[in-house]
Amino acid sequence: MIQRREFDQNLEDLRQLLRQMGEHVEHALTDSITALQTFDADKAKKIVERDIILNQMEEQVMDLGSRLIVTQQPVAKDLRRIIVAFKISSDLERMGDLAIDIAKVTIRLEGQTLIKPLVDIPKMAELVVTMVQESLQSYLDENTDLAYKMAKDDDEVDHLYSQIIRDLYAHMVEHAGELQQAMLLTLVGRYIERIADHATNIGESAVYLVTGHRPDLNQ
């Protein structure tokens, strides 16, 4: 249909914007963990500087989505595509902020050495990067099975987070002088766990887009 050509193109533009935001978040998360593992404060600072790009992309999603609602008065799945774009861009923007929070821990620890080798944090981060990728893919491909599969990984993330807390608390008891770094590392665990929650939100949005019903994948 001729009258839909521009509308369909704009909906595709929204989708591509979210894909780019997802890739940005994925890199920010991977880089922030690498920076922490290698205590690379310069790399961490670059992650913080790049955040403005993600914020700008979120604004683009908001502007384009609002314009489409006003000019096209979408209904049914077209409307859900836009509602979902708003929600996913907001989740991705928050995930980007959390990746920055991780980078800021590295910046605060500049000049120190690691109190213990990081084992569970990178493992957890690796799992969450996969969740971020799969949540975005479930949205892009409108694949609800993938959304549900991805959400199941959140249990493993929660399990690893509990493990990290236990280990670091035990470390704090034995090494009171390393309290600050141990506290900051528990926060890193918390940030990664929150990113996983936003990934499950994106999975929920994917299911909502396809079915019109919003499941609770965070249970």
């Binding site: 249909m1 839909r4 509308f7 979408p74 209904v75 049914a76 799945k77 409307l79 859900r80 079915t211």
Partner: protein, 251 residues
């Protein structure tokens, strides 16, 4: 919601053309039901079967059943004038009679036997109030109806239709000839009227159906594709043809 109109296996032919194909539908009482669909889909034809307007087309043939408040309107003993008192209609173009505002509204009640001046005055005032026109015309009731604006004329036609206290009000694209402000006024009026009347409207404006109707029926090629609560039909339609139509992919 209780159905006041029950349509069962209705087939309508204009000569050889099969305009309505095995249509079955319940229309709830005191609610707004919108018929949508592309041109030629049968929505106006079905609307016109509800007060037997199709009787005027000689080649029309109808099979099936239409019950209004439990009575078959295509029965042999049905008085069509009484049916049209029970089932009023408002058309696309405002069509006031070339008479005074007062006489337009009093026309139906007079036709049905009301002669008492005080009684007629009361009916005219109440009908114009219900049509949200009273305050604009109360000082000029003797003025010609044709002096009113298009939007006012359409509200006058609604007042004229409800002056005979119908149960059902049919609206055939009743706002499509009006400007946006007049359209908004009619939409607000229709939503108020549904407390007293059952309203069935045909509209080409899907967003109007989405805004004001309680139920929406989607027609295609003489058949009902989907009938559902308006909110459901416009958010999660069951049939892909409905989704394609409301999303502007055809029609």
């Amino acid at each position: 919601m209780t159905p006041i109109i029950h349509i069962e296996s209705l087939n309508l032919y204009y000569d050889q053309f099969h305009a309505l194909k095995n249509v079955s539908l319940d229309i709830p009482e005191k609610a707004i039901t919108a018929f949508i669909g592309p041109s030629g889909c049968g929505k106006s034809t079905l609307l016109r079967t509800l007060n037997r307007m199709n009787d005027m087309i000689p080649t029309t043939r109808i099979e099936g059943s239409v019950l209004i408040a439990g009575s078959e309107i295509y029965g042999d003993d049905v008085q069509v004038e009484m049916l049209r008192k029970q089932v009023g209609m408002v058309f696309q173009q405002p069509n006031p009679f070339p008479k005074s505002i007062y006489d337009n509204v009093a026309y139906g009640p007079r036709l049905h036997g009301t002669k008492n001046k005080a009684e007629l005055d009361e009916i005219v005032e109440q009908s114009l109030r219900q049509a949200v026109l009273w305050d604009e015309v109360k000082d000029f009731l003797k003025r010609s109806a044709l002096s009113l604006s298009g939007g006012q004329q359409q509200r006058l036609c609604i007042a004229r239709a409800i002056a005979v206290q119908p149960q059902i009000l049919l609206m055939d694209e009743a706002t499509s000839a009006l400007d946006p402000i007049s359209t908004l006024k009619i939409e607000e009026l229709v939503q108020e009227l549904k407390d007293k009347y059952t309203i069935v409207m045909v509209t080409h404006n899907m967003h109007q159906a989405a805004r004001i109707s309680d139920r929406t029926v989607f027609f295609l090629n003489g058949e009902i594709v989907e009938a559902d609560d308006t909110r459901t039909l416009f958010s999660t339609p069951r049939d892909s043809r409905t989704e394609d139509y409301i999303s502007g992919r055809f029609g």
